[in-house]
């Protein structure tokens, strides 16, 4: 049950060639789990999230399989996916603030969307109103145009709309990025509330803000330059990371109670590689202090402890010895 992704590879087609934004990704998300997906800009986290629900041009499906509740998802087929979107897999997009048609009242737009999916708006209206209460939106918003709502209200409206048919998997793409800190926390908590109330079964939360994930995620998947780096429970990622990239990423976060006046926060030296023509093997090797010859081969994404996956030759060697 839950979501299983096997060897998913998605490229971007450009005039200069394929941008290898997602390479051979395999992971599971359990029933009811909120998985955080983190990494720096351009590491392929949005590509991964979007490819599960809306794999449009210039994204190009190269290979792999996606199973949701043991059912094969035709993610490469835009038409066939329509039967699963919103009902099985849904998304809260990065651009939630502009996601509503400016010239339609929100209620009317919702009704038209549902009717077009052969769902009766009348039957679902009571539930819709309950969910508006849940996110603390007045019911009158249904009679308003999107311009009459603030950015945060639009964000919450999109949350309600995306989860209205109780999808098995919800992809939340940078839902807190455009909000102030107070609203960030509120929105993050609403997402947990939605999961607890069964508005969605499991969720993938895409963000570059690990502190938000620390509050709401059950597990975290770290990506680097289109490859999966590490996946473990939230605690394990924050307190005992194994992949060198994760270690450096976590150590570059400010810590509570530590003053940074004397000691400067350290970043990760170097830049991520261009994905148009990425280096062979581990893509982190150029910035990695531990790199050795073997890193020219792609490290396997191995389970080194129960539920703890790492893609690093050093770690898998330690694991083999143990």
């Amino acid at each position: 049950m839950g979501l299983q992704v096997e060897n998913l590879t998605v490229y971007y087609q450009t005039l200069k060639g394929n941008v290898q934004a997602l390479e051979n990704a395999s992971f599971n998300v359990a029933d009811g789990e909120i998985m955080g997906l983190a990494g720096e800009s351009g590491c392929g986290k949005t590509t991964l999230g979007h490819s599960l629900v809306y794999l449009n041009q210039p994204m190009k499906f190269i290979g792999g399989r996606v199973l949701l509740n043991d059912q094969d998802m035709p993610i490469a087929d835009m038409e066939a996916m329509n039967d699963f979107r919103l009902k099985q897999i849904s998304i809260i997009p990065q651009y939630a603030m502009n996601a509503l048609n400016p010239t339609r009242k929100i209620g009317k737009m919702t009704a038209e969307l549902l009717e077009s999916k052969k769902v009766s708006f009348k039957i679902i209206k009571a539930e819709l109103e309950r969910r508006l209460d849940l996110v603390k939106l007045p019911r009158e918003v249904l009679n308003m145009y999107p311009i009459e709502l603030s950015g945060g209200m639009k964000q919450r409206m999109v949350m309600v709309l995306s989860t209205l048919l109780n999808p098995a998997l919800l992809i939340a793409d940078e839902i807190t990025s455009a909000l102030d800190v107070a609203s960030q926390k509120a929105v993050a908590e609403m997402l947990v509330e939605f999961r607890d109330q069964q508005c969605c079964n499991s969720a993938i939360v895409i963000t570059h803000d690990i502190s938000i994930l620390y509050q709401i995620a059950d597990s975290i998947l770290i990506m680097y330059a289109g490859q999966l780096a590490e996946r473990a429970s939230t605690d394990a990622i924050i307190h005992s990371p194994r992949h060198p990239y994760t270690k450096m990423l976590i150590s570059s976060l400010p810590k509570v109670g530590v003053r940074y006046e004397e000691k400067k926060l350290s970043g990760i030296p170097g830049k991520p590689p261009l994905l148009l023509n990425p280096p062979r093997g581990c893509r982190f090797k150029e910035r990695c202090p531990l790199a050795f010859e073997k890193c020219d081969q792609v490290p396997p994404f191995e389970e080194i402890a129960p539920g703890h996956f790492v893609a690093c030759w050093k770690e898998s060697a330690k694991n083999a010895q143990a």
Binding site: Y54, M81, N82, L86, P93, N98, T103, R104, Y145, I147
Partner: protein, 329 residues
């Protein structure tokens, strides 16, 4: 709402006053005295010419100081008096214009409206797929880049001279008098086809290209992508995109409808079609300042009314304009 419209109305009234003033100034500051030209053409003897000159100056109200002429002009305007034509003396300008306007309406209203509807739908259709876009859009670009009169001449030559299907001169057969008979209406329609086609085709290309570009822009907008990501069927996404893409096209339509009263100068000249455009040309050629001034005045009023109508329409179709009304803007 009330505040919004009263503010708009005030702006329109100010614009009208300014435009009418400029319209009054233009013929007066143009070189040449119309009365003198008229007399010179009559070829009178010097003494009688002088007599006629002062008579005419008085008749046209040109013997009083310029500021009084301006006031008299406004007073006459409120009485619906546009003056008397020099070219078709002594017919009043208003009558001449009123005789020409029906032909403009007959020609331009269908040409603009039908090309708008057809062009918008065709453009939206072209945006459906790459294949359609690649075949239809170039046609639209060629059509919209074609000058009206050139297409008019081409059509007149092809369908009027090479193949004798349609007449290409006048609004009806020269052997007929305007009347409400089937014969006259039939002749009217026959003469109408070619100028209509030349206008329709060019405008059609413009609308189609405009719509095609707008709808591609709307289909790439975030709200379209969101709907698709939620699995909305294509026709729903397209319907929303069409509705939003049509807003700028409505503005375009209003501007076109506003200048209807100006006729289509070159097209009407090519086909000797007796509309307002044709009239303007005659007025200029004959130094008929009063007629010219009357024509311009008519155009000014037409443009303003059309713009006002579109302001009202926008309030109805675009909620974003409505939001602006509650504020100070």
């Amino acid at each position: 709402m009330k505040r919004y419209f009263s503010r708009k109305l005030l702006i329109y009234i100010l614009t009208l006053i300014l435009a009418v003033t400029v319209d009054w100034l233009i013929p007066r500051f143009m070189p040449g005295n119309p009365v003198q030209i008229m007399i010179a053409r009559a070829g009178l003897k010097a003494e009688s010419a002088k007599l006629v000159y002062s008579e005419y100056m008085k008749a046209f109200g040109l013997d009083v100081p310029i500021w009084q002429q301006y006031i008299n002009f406004w007073i006459a305007l409120f009485h619906g008096d546009f003056g008397v034509s020099l070219w078709l003396f002594p017919r009043p300008v208003l009558r001449i214009i009123m005789d020409a306007v029906p032909y403009d309406l007959l020609l331009l209203v269908p040409a603009i409206l039908i090309s708008w509807f057809a062009g918008n739908n065709f453009g939206a259709f072209a945006a459906r797929s790459k294949w359609l876009d690649n075949t239809i859009s170039p046609l639209g670009y060629v059509l919209t880049a074609t000058p009206y009169m050139w297409l008019g001449i081409l059509l007149a030559w092809a369908l009027g001279i090479v193949v004798h299907i349609f007449p290409f001169s006048g609004a009806y057969s020269y052997g007929l008098m305007p009347s409400l008979s089937w014969k006259f209406i039939g002749s009217l329609l026959q003469h109408w086809v070619l100028p209509f086609m030349s206008l329709f085709l060019v405008m059609f290309g413009g609308w189609a290209i405009g719509m095609r570009n707008m709808i591609i822009y709307e289909l790439e907008a975030d709200y379209s992508h969101y709907l698709e990501a939620l699995g909305a069927p294509k026709n729903l996404v397209r319907r929303y995109a069409f509705r939003n893409a049509v807003l700028p096209q409505i503005t375009g339509l209003a501007l076109q409808l506003g200048v209807i009263v100006a006729g289509q100068l070159v097209t009407e000249i090519v086909f000797s079609y007796p509309g307002l455009g044709y009239l303007i040309l005659q007025a200029i050629q004959n130094h008929d300042f009063f007629l010219l001034q009357g024509c311009f005045l008519f155009i000014i009023i037409g443009v303003l009314i059309a713009n006002f109508a579109i302001d009202v329409t926008y309030v109805l179709v675009d909620p974003r304009t409505r939001a602006g009304m509650t504020g100070e803007a």
